[in-house]
């Protein structure tokens, strides 16, 4: 058994690529071993900006010898058969082994030296390495066939049991020499063996463990903050990034001028983080402090010099930010908003100014209709201004601050707090787990904005397909549903989208490209397909969302099949249904329903109307619209419906019981559904359970007498229909 060290040294590897590169190296190496029939006791990988390394422990020094046996002809087989076999295996007759009357050819395959396996595997791993971006370099790049690596590859260490495994890739030969820290160590570093790698490099100022550097940064940064009486704002993304930028990380705390604290803390944190990769700190009150922590890659002669240099860079950045902050405030948001007319929302859907106007009208309508209990004027005002920050300098610099900056500027301007809050939060919720707004003005603007976006892209047929959703419409739909559910808003989905689409129609009809009957003509956009597609899309999202919440999809289907497109009501019904089918009454009623439905299907029962086919018409309802026939048919129907309840025979007790139960339960359930008391509706259905069970036990549906059979089938149909008013039970599984 022996340990193996591989180090691939190159110029600075991008920080973001190092964690994945470690995994890839481990995988490629293990695959190569497996292919050769080798297994290491353990494989560990390392990454720094300048090296990618691997240590495999307890490798056998050779692969196992294998004895391969090939079965040949029987002893005494014709000589041609034996000759053919000998030719195939390349042996002479004397070399064959005889066992149980059969010849066998036995070939001893000797084990291979592990070093030899590795010498072949290393170049293959290097050439196959899946860097996200790779490059060519140097004199060899005269040809495009030259080696590719993330940055120029400068050295390879390959040591098995302390001995160099000789191999060569594009002129780079393996050895035992590496380099220490770029500035703290000069000259080459010799590695004796795998076991000495980590400590030899540590002595040369390189911490090779990625996770150890992370830990060092995390702890030293927290310590530096604590020593200054502050608390570090933890940021694991920054820890990883700084670990990928250093071989010898040294976090240092510096201070910036307090005047910059006028700028919103989010801006300061973003400036420090994104541009400079600095941590920030909070004071005892949890407020952002005028401190930053940079992570140097050296033990500087005088850390104060490094800190001061970094402070100046941050100061320049913050003074830009403060300039934007002050500059933006010189212009009221309403004036900023005028510039939105220059920004295209989508080439077929007009400008962002057009969007803001539509959203404002829709938000106002939501309030005026009482769907959202907010002041319509405030909702409209907030919506008109909600996109204005997109043209501010600050959001131009930091797009991720959209909304937030608008909120700050609105507050500074002295607009009502409902308005500034709505501007700040109208993009919410932006993903799973994000806060769902509840402030009424915010809800109106946020909902209107998302409805408008979905309607627009569906109008121009830019629907999400498969994994493609370039305009994030699924996220918008989830946002709509979160808002609606959280705030119990009565959203008639199709009606709302008709409203949103109407706003586009009014705007677009003024544009020449949308007039006429051309490809983009409005008439071509506002189609029944649009309405059903957009409604189905949102309801489909509701199903997906509710499945994640533990709602059974078959129950969703059972309720949605009734054509209700109001999510809150739909969910109330589903919840009541889910509770009901979990009870014994529910389970049995479902069984009774299925039995009734099966009988009706089997008997091809078309209801009383179906009887009209006896008039001889091919289409049973062909004549119903004929004005001359109408009174005749009406009279006939009345007579037959009367026959349904006024039986021509004396019903059996179980039959009578079901008739009576249904007479009580059906209107009760229907009324409960109409007034959205779904639990009551379920309770009403529950009263049918015993009568339907008894009916099936005691009554023969398929009676010999035609009138009895018809009446009983009609009774079952009425039972089915009563259940259907609550949910389509045929879609329920189990």
């Amino acid at each position: 058994m022996a340990d193996f060290l591989l180090e691939l040294r190159c110029e600075e590897i991008p920080a973001r690529m190092q964690p994945k590169a470690k995994e890839d190296l481990a995988r490629l190496f293990t695959d190569a071993l497996t292919k050769a029939g080798l297994t290491a006791g353990s494989v560990e990988t390392f990454a720094t900006p300048r090296r990618l390394a691997l240590i495999a422990k307890d490798l056998p020094l050779a692969t196992e010898a294998v004895s391969e046996e090939t079965k040949g002809p029987k002893v005494g087989a014709p000589p041609q058969a034996l000759e053919g076999f000998l030719r195939k295996v390349g042996l002479t007759a004397e070399q064959l082994v005889e066992r149980d009357g059969v010849y066998f050819a036995v070939v001893e395959k000797p084990g291979r030296e592990t070093a030899e396996v590795l010498a072949e595997a290393i170049p293959a791993i290097i050439r196959a390495f899946p860097w996200p971006k790779s490059m060519r370099w140097g004199a060899a790049s005269l040809s495009t066939e030259s080696l590719r690596w993330v940055r120029p590859l400068s050295g390879i260490i390959a040591l098995l049991d302390g001995a160099v495994v000789p191999c060569k890739v594009d002129g780079i030969a393996s050895g035992r020499t590496t380099m220490g820290h770029r500035f703290h160590h000069s000259g080459p570093v010799e590695i004796a063996n795998a076991g000495a790698y980590i400590e030899t490099l540590r002595a040369a100022h390189v911490v090779v463990h990625f996770s150890e550097r992370c830990k060092l940064i995390r702890e030293a940064a927290a310590r530096a903050a604590a020593e200054a009486g502050l608390t570090l704002v933890a940021d694991e993304g920054l820890v990883i990034e700084n670990a990928g930028l250093t071989e010898w990380p040294v976090p240092l705390l510096g201070r910036f001028d307090e005047v910059f604290l006028d700028v919103p803390p989010e801006v300061i944190q973003l400036t420090a983080r994104v541009n400079q990769k600095y941590f920030v700190c909070e004071d005892a009150d949890g407020k952002l402090a005028n401190a930053f922590i940079c992570t140097a890659n050296i033990d500087a002669n005088d850390p104060a010099v490094v800190v001061d240099g970094n402070r100046k860079v941050l100061a320049a950045r913050l003074s830009d930010a403060r300039f934007f902050w002050e500059q933006d405030q010189k212009t009221p948001l309403a004036v900023h908003a005028e510039k939105l007319a220059r920004i295209t929302f989508h080439e077929k859907l007009g400008t962002v100014a057009d969007k803001a106007l539509r959203v404002a009208k829709l938000a106002r309508w939501l309030c005026e209709e009482g769907i959202v209990a907010a002041d319509p004027a405030l909702a409209e005002q907030a919506a008109r201004l909600c996109k204005a920050d997109l043209v501010t300098e600050m959001v131009g610099e930091f797009p991720e601050l959209q909304g937030l900056m608008g909120g700050y500027y609105a507050a500074k301007e002295g607009l009502p707090q409902e308005v500034s809050d709505a501007i700040r939060d109208h993009y919410k919720p932006v993903g799973q787990g994000d806060d769902v707004p509840t402030a009424p003005v915010t809800v109106a603007v946020s909902l209107a904005d998302k409805l408008d976006t979905i309607a627009g892209f569906f109008l121009i047929n830019e629907k999400p397909t498969g994994s493609k959703d370039p305009f994030a419409l699924r996220r918008a739909a989830i946002g709509v549903l979160d808002l609606v559910v959280k705030n119990s808003l009565r959203m008639e989905t199709m009606h709302f989208f008709a409203r949103a689409a109407g706003a586009y129609a009014r705007q677009l009809e003024r544009r020449p490209e949308f007039q006429g009957d051309g490809e983009d003509g409005l008439g071509k956009l506002l189609t029944p397909e649009f309405y059903s597609a957009v409604t189905d899309f949102v309801l489909e999202r509701l199903k997906v969302q509710q499945r994640a919440n533990g709602v059974r999809h078959d129950l969703m289907d059972a309720v949605a099949a009734l054509g209700d497109d109001q999510p809150v009501r739909l969910l109330a019904r589903v919840h009541a249904l889910q509770a009901f089918v979990g009870t014994e009454d529910g389970t049995n009623l479902l069984a009774g329903y299925k039995r009734a439905a099966n009988i009706l299907k089997k008997e091809d029962w078309r209801g009383i109307e179906g009887e009209i086919s006896q008039t001889g018409e091919e289409d049973p309802l062909a004549m119903v619209d004929d004005p001359d026939l109408a009174p005749v048919i009406a009279a006939k129907m009345a007579e037959r419906h009367l026959a349904e309840t006024h039986l021509s025979y004396t019903p059996e007790p179980a039959e009578k019981a079901l008739i009576d139960a249904l007479a009580a339960a059906a209107p009760g359930a229907a009324e409960a559904v109409d007034s959205e008391r779904f639990a009551d509706a379920m309770a009403a259905l529950a009263t049918l359970r015993a009568p339907i069970d008894r009916f099936f036990e005691e009554v023969t549906v398929n009676a010999e007498e035609a009138d009895k059979r018809a009446a009983r089938l009609a009774l079952l149909a009425r039972f089915r229909d009563a259940v259907h008013r609550v949910a389509d039970f045929s879609r329920i599984e189990g």
């Binding site: 370099w137 005269l142 770029r182 240099g309």
Partner: protein, 310 residues
Amino acid sequence: MNAAPLFAPPARDPARSFQDMILTLHDFWSAEAGCVILQPYDMRMGAGTFHTATTLRALGPEPWNAAFVQPCRRPTDGRYGENPNRLQHYYQYQVILKPSPSDIQELYLKSLAAIGIDPLAHDIRFVEDDWESPTLGAWGLGWEVWCDGMEVTQFTYFQQMGGFDCKPVAGELTYGLERLAMYIQGVDNVYDLAFNSSGVSYGDVFLENERQMSKWNFEVADTDALFDLFAKAEAECRNALAAGVPIAAYEQAVEASHVFNLLQARGVISVQERASYMGRVRDLARSSCEAYAAKMTPEWEAKYPGWSLV
């Protein structure tokens, strides 16, 4: 008779003189990498990369080592001389080494030491920053080099230029001279830099230029004339291409690019038009690079048997 030399240059003092810093870099790259020390291209351009010594010479198989200062014009960065860090006219120091030598990083760090940056006193870092110029049909991988958190150099291995694979790859270093000098001299305002060792400041040389040129860029330049210039440069580029003189065509592409930047500063190009203008500049620059490569290819192939453009 042997006359004594009439003149011996004094020792450079890059830490206290902007021009000495430049002269030190010239000395360094001339001596250490055999660079030709060129003078700036005599046209207005947005970056040193536009210099033909970089773009056109990055094409083809022949070795090419050059270093030069290139004044850069960024009309929209003008601040009327009132911002301590931003200028509409500033200097880049460009080094182009083709093929990229294996010790290019060490050479670069040595050049920093030569102008007074001690890597144990200052934190030097190579931070991923890939470079792309759609205008030139060019891209490369590399870093921005940080000194105590400040970007002082763009370091790029060109992979493609003019839409062609670089065969071989060139290494390009672009130093931001004013930033570096401010750092080395320890001043917070660019206009306070010592230009030489005889008391002339950067402000003495450039402050008034910045005031007047900012005003001209943003307020004065006749936009009709600029649109006209753009159209003429575009036409002349096509004319030169048709006549088989791609270097002349390339110059007109550079001209069109700068005129476009001026129009941007005047705020007369809308967002929608912007993309279209950029597309036109890109067509000119790429067509010129392609025509240059096509014209030179027979010569290159003759000198380097087996080499091909694509």
